[in-house]
Amino acid sequence: MTGSAVRISKIAKGYGASRVLRDIDLAVDAGEFMTIVGPSGCGKSTLLKILAGLDQPDGGSIEIGGESVNQLRPSQRNIAMVFQSYALYPHMRVRDNLAMPLIMADLPFVARMPVIGPLVPGMSAKRRQISSTVRDVSKSLGIEALLERKPSELSGGQRQRVALGRAMVRQPGVFLMDEPLSNLDAALRTQVRTELVQLQKRLNATFLYVTHDQVEAMTMSDRIAVMMDGRIVQVATPAEIYAAPADIRVARFIGSPPINILPANIGEAGIVGLLGESQNLRTALRAGEKAQVGIRPADVTVAAHTRARGASSSHEGRLLHTENLGNEIILHLTLAGDRQVPFTARLPQREWATIQASGGNPNLVQVGLPAERFLVFNAAGRLIPSKGVQVSKRLEAVS
């Protein structure tokens, strides 16, 4: 079984005056794990529902497996969906929940009717086929022992698996997942995350996974589509998204702790000025344009206050407090200067221990900002390509 490719073109949706989706384009390859991530209210769930056929777009088209599904009902689109609440049928046993999609697909209307349904002749082969599929799927998910239970008798993790199983039985071209992990506790979430990825690889299925949790997006996906305000801002691999976020909002959204954003000036020849100093970085921006610079906390270098290290620019940082993550430490600082800019840095615990051992003022550190790691965004928040250059340390401030 191989998943189907999905192509979404110019999907738009609005309720009254508010535009929920604005011309969404997205192509998902067959067998790909694509995550749509974004803050709540960005329209990602609506997009998923439109994809499933549960909601109608105002315009645009959807192709699944190369076929247009615009006119097809949800059940005809060769998709399966796992809901945030799992949406298991509470009145049915696990077995019947799993069998439901097959019954609907394989049995004629009369045979599905209550009471008279079982009396319809000639259905026993189909029924046997259904129950063997259910058995196989439940075995692969390790939920065979739960088949006779009702959803109310299951734990959260078990329900999640049943929901997954219900999606699997029909062997769909595309799995649609609407925040399937958000109702699980933290430990379980990490575990299921891994399992889901393994499952996806094993089935070689196409997963379209919606979440607001950037950690899920980063850890599970082949590619990530970041959605903001009804638009897809960037589609790229996790590494790309992290290293080169196309938009300042994406930069802010991805990464933990969040990226540091500092206001910057653009000097002559597009040289970036930060915290009153010219940086060894040239951009395509013109002099005098407003810009912002993003620096990942992990890219910041920290040294004891007493001796500065060879960074392109070094500043005094005042320590507000520290968060100890065990192997790593997060420093919350303010950078010295006219403006008290809040700033975070992330460094290995061992390094921090060395700094502390070196003596000096315990509340002050030397912060290095490596210019080659800067992400420069223009006034509209778009990422601007930049190139490292060597500039003289002091430059006239551009007013």
């Binding site: 309720y15 009254g16 529902k49 549960l54 909601d55 109608q56 009902r73």
Partner: protein, 290 residues
């Protein structure tokens, strides 16, 4: 999600083959037919109450403004039989029953929900048992007792069997139980007496339930015929439904005034219903908490 959003997708899913407007038309068409059947007797009653008695049957659903007899019919309804007195009696009974019900039920429900005492389980069991006892079962012995005590034809006789409401106790207990024990303990530490706890903490928090039950109780006892029919056989103590039942036997049937009287005794509750629709609906829904 906005409700508008829900509707759109519901329509799509429910009748994918039908145009949404056609489905809506069918839906509203059916609903209007049912609504007409439901409203028909009300319309006839009001029309009959305001028109000339001689036209009531010859022209049931017409209204000739020139032959409007509303004033005559209603004044006759109020004078020929003392409908005003019947309504007052009903009011006294309804208010009396409700106040005692609320006092006894709130107290008992609080004890059952938030306090501990010997016999608690037994009492709650009895309440559940009483919930299954239809009111007509204790009627006969109670009638005999009231007759022996010479208490028939009194407000007391009309009200007494209803002072205890198993439903109220059960409903309030379920609501009081959701009140956090911590707050009650905090209040005790702050020096609240148990009565103050009930009046100042528990009752305000359960007001929707109390309002819903009140509406329920008022409706039931305003409309009750069975018990008043048994314990009252004098005009002075008749409640509105009983008074109406006897209106015809005393008056010979004059439909204008009769329907005016029917309108009069129906309207207070209908007005209350229109004003407190929410509590009626909640009251009904709460019967489902069992």
């Amino acid at each position: 999600m906005t409700s508008a959003k829900l509707d759109v997708s519901t329509q799509e899913l429910r009748a994918p083959s039908l145009a949404p407007s056609l489905a809506a038309a069918v839906r509203h068409g059916l609903l209007l037919i049912f609504a007409a059947i439901i409203l028909l007797p009300f319309a006839w009653m009001i029309l009959a109450a305001v028109k000339d008695p001689s036209d009531i049957f010859s022209d049931p659903f017409s209204l000739d403004p020139a032959k409007l007899r509303a004033v005559e019919n209603f004044s006759k309804a109020l004078t020929a039989a003392p409908m005003g007195l019947f309504m007052l009696n009903s009011l006294i009974v309804v208010v009396g029953v409700l106040s005692v019900q609320l006092i006894t039920s709130v107290a008992a429900a609080y004890a059952l929900a938030q306090l501990k005492f010997r016999g608690q389980t037994l009492l709650f069991g009895l309440v559940l048992f009483a919930l299954c006892i239809p009111v007509q079962v204790p009627a006969l012995p109670m009638y005999i007792a009231l007759a022996k005590l010479g208490l028939l034809n009194s407000y007391f006789a009309l009200m007494f069997p209803w002072f205890f409401s198993a439903f109220a106790i059960f409903l309030f207990r379920q609501h009081f139980r959701t009140y956090p024990q911590e707050i009650i303990n905090a209040a005790r530490i702050d020096g609240f007496t148990e009565i103050e706890i009930v009046l100042r903490l528990i009752v305000p928090s359960a007001l929707p339930a109390i309002a819903a039950f009140s509406v329920f109780s008022v409706t039931a006892h305003w409309n009750d015929l069975y018990w008043p029919l048994i314990v009252v056989n004098v005009t002075e103590k008749m409640t509105a439904p009983l008074g109406l039942l006897n209106f015809q036997s005393a008056e010979g049937v004059s439909y204008g005034p009769l329907m005016a009287a029917a309108t009069i005794i129906t309207s207070p509750l209908v007005c209350v219903f229109l004003l407190a629709r929410r509590y009626f609906v909640e009251g009904v829904t709460m019967t489902g908490v069992k």
